[in-house]
């Protein structure tokens, strides 16, 4: 069965491009434009295999989203990847502490994205 991936980013361009790359490889995708929207969606979605979230977003930022998502029983063990431009590692650590599985550093190529998605979601 196709893996289902939730993409959270306030930039439509980023959402669209990730969606495009993942759909090409046969993944199913769902988009949310910020942490709050995603959080509201979570209880209604079933069988999400991976969540990819941006950090800086209005309403609810990525790190807080992860903390809240991990409180839901259904998403305790769902892999979550953080999209970050920070290369210094501070956001990566913050993300990990909040319960993220890993991170993707922007800008990234399609191959790199797919490599990481395979690594955590397969």
């Amino acid at each position: 069965m196709a893996k289902r991936i939730l993409i959270i980013d306030d930039s439509a361009a980023i959402r669209q491009s990730i969606t495009y790359i993942l759909n090409q490889e046969g993944y199913e995708t769902i988009e949310a434009k910020d942490g709050q929207e995603a959080l509201d969606m979570l209880p209604t979605l079933d069988a999400i295999d991976l969540i990819i979230t941006d950090v800086n977003m209005p309403n609810l930022d990525g790190i807080s989203f992860i903390r809240k998502a991990r409180e839901l029983v259904k998403y305790r063990f769902t892999p979550i990847l953080v999209l970050t431009t920070e290369s210094q590692g501070t956001k990566m650590n913050e993300g990990k502490e909040a319960g993220a599985t890993g991170w993707i550093v922007k800008p990234f190529s399609a191959d790199k994205l797919l490599g990481i998605v395979r690594k955590v979601a397969e």
């Binding site: 361009a13 669209q16 491009s17 090409q24 431009t85 650590n93 599985t101 922007k106 800008p107 490599g115």
Partner: protein
Amino acid sequence: MIDGFKETFREEAEELLSGLEGILLELETKPGDPELLNAAFRAVHTIKGSAGMFGFEAIGRFAHDLENIMDRIRSGSLSMTKDFADLALSCRDHIRTLLAADEDPGPAIQERTGQLVEALRAYAAKGSRADGGESEAPSEGRADALTDNPDAGGEETVWRLSFKPGQGVFRSGTKVLRLLEELSELGDCACFPHTENIPELEKLDPEACLTSWDAIIASGKGPDAIKDVFIFIESESEIALEKIEEAAILQEREEPKKLGEILLDRGIVTRAAIDEALRSQRRLGEVLIEKKLVSKEQVESALVEQEHLKRVQERQVDTGAASIRVASEKLDQLVDLVGELVTLQARLSQTALGIQDPGLTGISEMFDRLISQLRDNTMSIRMLPIGSTFNKFRRVVRDLSLELGKDAELATEGAETELDKTVIEKLGDPLVHIIRNSLDHGIERPADRLAAGKPRSGTIRLSAMHSGAYVLIQVADDGAGLDRAAIKAKALERGIISPGADLPDQEIDQLIFAPGFSTAKTVTKVSGRGVGMDVVKREIDSLGGTVLLKSERGHGTTMTLKIPLTLAIIEGLLVKVADEFYVVPLSSVDGCIEIRSDEVVERDGKRIITYRGELLPFVPLRTWFDSPGEAPAISQIVIVNALDSRIGFVVDQVIGDYQTVVKPLGRLYRNVRGLSGATILGDGTVALILDVNRLSQAVKRDSTGRAGRDEALLDA
């Protein structure tokens, strides 16, 4: 497609930039307002992050410089002056210019970029004099840890990895087994799990990861590639990577490392302890465990390493000059002789059992051990890696795609999978045919592929892997998938099915294996030369294998061949019905249960039993084979896995595990379905070997187990 994203990005960036303008103007009136500073920083940061994704590298680099300074102002290490607001506004305007210029900024714009970067750096230098300042170098080092590592010379090296994940890794969604899988994709890998930290069930925290692993891996990729597997959890895990030695050096050693050496290398025991242990002539590992110097797991883990090093070494010898060529007939003779010996051995042990002489029993048991070693050894001589034939297919795909005006590549996996030589030879033609079919019917023309949103070039994936006593060979394409409507229409036209027949998708797919079937509208040079998929199926059947077909319209077709590892000798379960013996191949046996005649449930005329909570059909072999006499009050049911379902066979008695030398049934019985061969038992009696797959198919078609049997049994 990329252009579409670019447009979206441009719109978003425009929005952010006009927001930024407002913020910067407001900052002039309220210099140093943290809220505003943060907002300005976020805007620039977002532009920087996305720009590189959509081909605006120049913006990415430029915004990075601006962002750096804003970050320092935000954190207070640089002061905000009126000059900066002016400069920032100019920068913001320049980003707009760059955005409009697209990928090809003219020299004038580039010059302006240079000036502004200069000005930014000057501002940073001026401001940082106060705090004695070094200008902060962007540390991009870790960012690309996951990009492809250049192969470290390609030289194969053996590494020892000790990997102890943090207890909380599951809670961050990490799939540890997936990481080990990824590790084994890097090279020849052996893992040993340490489970000694797992407590008793009632004290177990199921959400904590308590297992750690030792792995030995022979890989041509560098140490970074190995460490990168664990990149997301390296901070919370203990990971140690150590080079054991170059594979090349390994080859020069006379024999692989001794257990003691390995334990010593790992610093688990001292030289003195080993020397002392060696003095008492028992197995080193046992002694060390007894003396509590090492734990059982540590020894087992070291043994895994030893085993693996041995294998790596053997492989190197294999690929080296240490091989001889032997005519295959000689090999076949050897296998025949071993087969005879196995049969004779069975008689010997039975005779010895009857005579009850301790001396004879001893000899017989020793003989038994040697024969099974000899058998395994002989079989392994006949095993060849299937990869040697893969190259041939690559050529087929290349030539054929040219001829058909298609664009396709062949990707292969599992080339090292070993398989009986004769099986490999017989597989060649069917595989070529399947691959041709994939190219001809499956992969679409480049224009159609692009229109369907697929990459221009199609991929045919050929993979092989072991699965129990079978090898699974898979040919998967990402083409159009089976056109079920066309298949049905063609089958109607050819009179293979009758009009109005309502077939499930699966059965429609199976129609392509029907004799005389071909859906290509025009007969191309490739397919449609009168050799259909029916021939493929027949050849695979003759190898005792099965073909599974999976297809999704628009996404491609996957064909899986399940082939037994070897044809000559199999492990079987010997059963008895009336006075006759039958052998069920052990690889397909799932279990045996007892049944009383009053436990049988009849449903729509089908006989059903409950097995592990599942309802299974079953068929009494006594009825099926017309054996004389009455069934005993309590019979045995042998549950077997056939193709994609399970089924039970009722027998009078299960005798036990039996090594079977397969003899063909001969021409006269060629059309008998449900039997795949015969074998001679220890006392000279003949036992028939059941063809589980065919038998279950026949039973499915005829659920009462009686009527229609003759048609199924004799398929002429």
